[in-house]
Symmetry: C2
Subunit: 224 residues, 2 copies
DNA sequence: CTCAATAGTAACCATCTAGTTACTTAAGGC
DNA sequence: GCCTTAAGTAACTAGATGGTTACTATTGAG
């Protein structure tokens, strides 16, 4: 029954002719993500989202309640994506320095490939995280991340390749900072400094720079 | 004549009774900064700005043309404030390491004291810097900043206390990153990590961390 | 095959919003 | 003290915007 249903759905999906709740929901979520990350929550227009999704505006209220409910769904979906990807890195199996380099580069590249994540954070912070605080599902997503970093730091410490007493949360914020600010503010930065910070060569150079900064900081102090 | 006019203005200002163009203009600009940085360009309401300024809405169009003109004025005024303050640091007179520490701490503290600057950057970047690109007055403001950092780097290099080949723009972006991301995203970060990042002790710790990160990176590589 | 539940449509509306119009009042050079 | 120019007010409007109503079509369990 499960099988026959999904086969049918797939057939419908392929033809695109009749109704398909899953597809409609997904189309709305995607369109909302695009519109909201491009224009912010207040700038996003409900009519524009419906049009982008190729769906009647009424459907959007049918599936998500109202504009705010839709925004919350976008927020949860977007956060969940990055945290899931991070867990997939399996950092704890690697050599501490290699693991750290991998985490730093992953974070940087994720920001390059997912500008919508950056925009959404900007929007949500302008809102003092009011919606994020309401979400039940987002907080638990973050235990694995800090746990992973903590393990990496402890093992690096024990091996004598990392300095002692580094706080995992502080370090993660530093790693994210170095990429986030550059990408999130690339438009104003390119304008004020008169250089195109989005050029591929520039992006690659920034990635190397970030790795160097983080690893230089983690270097044991005694070695100097 | 010049004197008598300004004395009169001051008297008017003190009593607050009759008309005073300068004061009206300043009140609108201030109210617009508050409203726009709190809610973004699209979220800000022209009526709310007028009310906040204690001024008739018509005046806002009288002095700034339209909402966009007002936004541009806010943008120019806010950028100009930080760049002017930076020049006042007189970094080039100091020992390179001390100068760098001063710049890093200044930047961090400026972000703490001026959340409106952070919000405005977020808004303008969501807009792909469309308004900033129009401004004639903003670009020239930035030469002194990169120039100052370049001098500091060169002198530190010559003295053997800084590594060689550091790009001033890349370094400034790094310095700004470490504070910007933390403050700008403090609401979401506090929520996902379950810690209050705005607590005074936390802010002080972050300041020290940022200084350590930047100076560790600048340390000459040969020393290891 | 039937029928209750769900997916989907089109037209509508109360409210809000940026910007305007038509007008009054003060300023200050001559 | 006159008179042009700039500062200021109140009431209004065209269009946009989030959300709703009343209706139709499809689905799939029994």
């Amino acid at each position: 029954m499960e099988g026959s249903t999904s086969t049918r759905r797939e057939a419908l999906r392929a033809s695109g002719s009749t109704r398909d709740p899953e597809r409609t929901r997904a189309a709305i979520l995607r369109a909302a993500t695009d519109e909201i990350t491009a224009k912010g929550l207040t700038g996003a227009r409900v009519d524009a989202i419906a049009k982008r999704a190729g769906v009647n505006k009424r459907m959007l209220y049918h599936y998500f309640g109202d504009k705010q409910g839709l925004y919350l769904a976008v927020l949860e979906h977007t956060y969940s994506a990055i945290r899931t990807a991070e867990i997939g890195l399996n950092l704890t199996e690697l050599d501490p320095v290699a693991g750290m380099r991998k985490l730093v580069l992953f974070t940087w590249e994720y920001f390059i490939e997912h500008p919508e994540f950056l925009s959404l954070l900007a929007t949500e912070n302008m809102n003092r995280a009011a919606y994020l605080k309401k979400s039940q599902s987002i907080r638990p997503l973050h235990r694995p991340l800090t746990g992973m970093i903590e393990v990496l730091l402890k093992r690096g410490e024990a091996k004598g390749v990392f300095r002692k007493g580094v706080d995992p949360v502080e370090l993660y914020i530093t790693i994210a900072s170095l990429g986030f600010f550059y990408m999130s503010n690339r438009h104003t930065l390119s304008t004020i400094f008169g250089e195109d910070l989005s050029a591929p060569k520039r992006l690659a150079a920034r990635g190397e720079h970030i790795v160097e900064v983080v690893l230089a900081y983690l270097e044991p102090i005694d070695n100097k």
